[in-house]
Symmetry: C2
């Protein structure tokens, strides 16, 4: 990581994608680790709505972590997208771009950005442009299923979370404190 | 999750395995989220040594998180295991068992336990026994490559982190604040 703490480092582009659990969770873990090293962190939730998730309370306890959340408090119907969903996602991308380019942050997380692209809420080209424009020292993390091949091609580190077994398949629903 | 906060829930067994980045990181993210909901968390690092990782500082800032670290501050040679490595790993397992069974924690993380088994530091049977004995309300997370099929079989939720692209392949070394 090319913060002032480490000469010669380089901020990479990381992608967490796939159908398994652990994509946003791994981004949160990366933030926890980075905050422990004094890095300045910005996370944009593209699709979380204004629901109070457990991670919000915890993130706000960490030093140098700024979080912003966009999206409405409901599921998006990808076959009938609400104009408000598009507006929110575009605002999220603008906010992420500002954070990545303004020199105030070492690590910028675009949570669920891949889904926002896949659902047609934002343009792939705009995200590609952001990745190209990012200063060398800034680390970017892009999460969400459906990561586009162009972003995978540009990324330095790509992990696919593959669902081997999931409790929802057994009829267990999402549990507060664990899944959200 | 079957903490006192949620009736009728059930603590599951989660496994994060595979060759990709994000296993420990996802466990840390789960902790961050769970701490935000007031759950009581215990994490045992089986193989981290006493090195001060970024996550330690951050974890200690979260409420109700207890962490214990075992293992020597060096890599293990799996073909020539030091008796001290075995002793440390056995202590780690004992500590994890105590935390899982004593009713004081809602979430117990056994970080890198799969590697400890694979390297012959602890017995698979002992971990299987721990999983069997755990109280219904306790959530267990087992991380590390090489998850044994028996543990995968017993688990409720299994995610394989698959390395699609990794910067170490390009000759970039581990970066403070991001990888450790």
């Amino acid at each position: 990581m090319a913060s002032s703490k480490q000469k010669g480092g380089k901020g990479l582009v990381q992608v967490f994608t796939g159908n398994g659990k652990g994509k946003t969770t791994a981004a949160l873990g990366t933030i926890l680790r980075a905050a422990g090293h004094g890095l300045r962190i910005f996370i944009v939730f593209f699709l979380k709505g204004d629901y109070t998730y457990g991670e919000y309370d915890s993130l706000t306890k960490l030093p140098n972590v700024t979080l912003v959340s966009f999206g409405l408090r409901r599921l998006i119907n990808r076959d009938n997208v609400d104009p408000e969903d598009i507006k929110q996602a575009k605002l999220a991308l603008e906010t992420a771009r500002e954070a990545a380019l303004n020199g105030k942050y070492d690590l910028v997380v675009l949570d669920e950005v891949n889904v926002a692209i896949e659902f047609g809420l934002i343009e792939l080209d705009d995200v590609v442009e952001l990745v190209k424009q990012k200063p060398g020292k800034v680390e970017l993390i892009l999460t969400g299923r459906y990561a586009d091949d162009r972003l995978i091609e540009m990324a330095d580190l790509v992990t696919e979370m593959v669902n081997i077994k999931h409790p929802f398949e057994k009829g267990i629903s999402a549990r507060k404190g664990i899944e959200y």
